[in-house]
Amino acid sequence: MENRIALIPRVMMKGAMGPKDYGLLITDRRSIFALEKASKAALLGVLGDALLSDKKTFDYASEDIEKLASDERNTVVPHEGIQKLHLKKGFSSYTMSNAYTLLVDYTDTAGRPRSVKAFLTPPNEFLALKKKEGVDKKTAIEEYARSARKAFEQALGASAAGRAEWDV
């Protein structure tokens, strides 16, 4: 049986028509980047991003994992195929702010080498909540990335320690 470990509510990945929002569901076997909605950030910049709704397309706590994984619009990274995982600190031109980038090199279930790159872009409500708590944006983004690291560490276990690199 496959167990849910964590949900990173928002990451952003490049798409043919611009960046797209994904929810990242991490189980004990794989990480599923589930397409949430096409982001308008590319057109509207930071303002557009701020105007986007944070409503989730899926209920990740109850959604059928297999259904999510089999959706061809989603990206599935099998944990046993991960060769390198790097959470890198940088700058996102999409959000025009500091961002952590998740880079994963892996082999898919067919044995083909693949890589995925996603920006850990905190949802607006998270940033709003932190702002209310008196936490500045930079620290909030760092906190979001740290939580993501914790989630991956829990999902991958000790075996992934040698394959992971964390800048947070």
Partner: protein, 189 residues
Amino acid sequence: MSPKPVRIIAYILIVIGLIGLAWSFQPTRGTTTAELPTGQGYYSYVKVSMWLNGHVEGNFEVTSGGGTVRFFVFDSAQYEDYSDDGVGSDSMFTLTGASGSFSEDLPTTSTYYLVVDHGSTTAAQTIDVTYKVSGLDIKYLIGGAVLLAVGAVLAVVGLRMKAKAKAAMPPPAVQSQPTGEVVMFDKKT
């Protein structure tokens, strides 16, 4: 039965009932062709039900057979007498001729009759009678009122069923405000 179809039926009945009530105030227009066979004692009539009071007017014309006819307006008692003896000595309105027009008030709630019979001849005759009756039409009035009442009862029943169904439904789950934080699932799911 679920509440929704009951309410839909109720609303349909109410609408039809209201149309019936409105229609009962409309003047009734009609044209009839009376065929009187050869021989004595034949007559033809149009029955008009009236509530409260109203008015009837129109005209008649012998279109074949020639001669004249007698045209009457009777109330129900007068009509009973006429149908017994065929004399028509007591009427609200009477006119003998090959054609003519009539106009008469219908003073009370009753059934009235527009009657035509042979006048100067016993030969077969065809008579066209055109009439307009103003006033409350009891058929539509009662029909509309009944449908309206049934519709209202059904509407109340439907609304009560809806209220009961709503009360029986579990309250919607309280959803926590999303915070956008990374979620750690703390149990095996």
